[in-house]
């Protein structure tokens, strides 16, 4: 039976599912990942499903279970890279992947995890006014409207 590798990158665990998984492989991954979270002391898990051309209810349930187990072990899980066709199919199937956080790609997933672990040390920086975020987000800092206020 094929086993899906679990990689440790910094303080994150990254799982990239590259094969058409047998159900046993999915169950083994659930087990492996729980072990690795405890061993490594990581607080974030990214499961990359970019390569998966379908997610059925079995795999969906595995993802939910992994997220739930990880939460108990004080780690947060983000599923990234779901293809549009897979998402549309899941909606039709009626699977909502409750309790799972998702992001478009690995990079966004890492941002999401970094944010949720971040001590809000920067809360004092900046105000809550609308102009503040306009300044911060403007693609062109020299644009006159961005500096007007």
């Amino acid at each position: 039976m094929h086993r899906v590798p679990v990689l440790k990158i910094g303080d994150l665990l990254l799982v990239s599912i590259q094969v058409d998984m047998e159900d046993q492989t999915a169950l083994a991954l659930q087990q492996d990942l729980s072990d690795r979270i405890v061993q490594s002391g990581c607080h974030g898990v990214i499961i990359d499903i970019t390569a998966m051309d379908i997610v059925d209810s079995f795999v969906g349930r595995m993802l939910s279970t992994i997220a739930a187990i990880a939460r108990v072990l004080d780690a947060e899980t983000v599923v990234v890279g779901m293809r549009p066709a897979v998402a549309i199919t899941l909606v039709e199937l009626g699977l909502s992947l409750n309790g799972i956080r998702t992001a478009l790609n690995v990079e966004r997933g890492m941002e999401l995890l970094a944010r949720s672990r971040q001590d809000d040390a920067d809360h004092v920086r900046g105000s809550d006014s609308d102009t503040a975020w306009m300044l911060a987000l403007g693609p062109d800092p020299d644009h006159p409207t961005a500096t007007a206020s």
């Binding site: 058409d20 998984m21 047998e22 159900d23 046993q24 051309d53 379908i54 997610v55 059925d56 209810s57 079995f58 969906g60 349930r61 293809r83 549009p84 066709a85 897979v86 549309i88 199919t89 039709e92 199937l93 009626g94 699977l95």
Partner: protein
Amino acid sequence: MTGRPDLSTPQVVTINSDADVVRVRQLVRTAAVAVSLSLVDQTKLVTAASELARNTLVYGGGGGAEVGVVDSGRRKGIRIVFSDEGPGIANLELALTDGYTSGGGLGLGLGGARRLVDEFEVQTGTGQGTRVTITKWARSM
């Protein structure tokens, strides 16, 4: 004729293990590509096939899937028949309800699969085994 796989006669896969479920998915994918189903429709059909193949294995105690091409004249499609000699489904209506499960799953298998295909038919009864036929048509020619 083109270099596509020959699906003029239905291909049969026996379902007796996890690996067979994977094989069903792969065969259905090849067939769906051959009749030019859109990517979303391919994904829906393969997902439905995966659900039903697993049902055949888990609830039916194993069985088979027959994958073939159907042609209505105007458009082509894929028809898959899953059959097993298992205990059958006593209350079909209940089994088709979302959230109902007898096997510890999410209970989306049968009802969910029905929403993913164009035609869905179940023949079953207590002690009679189960036979599920699904069809998905290409959107246009």
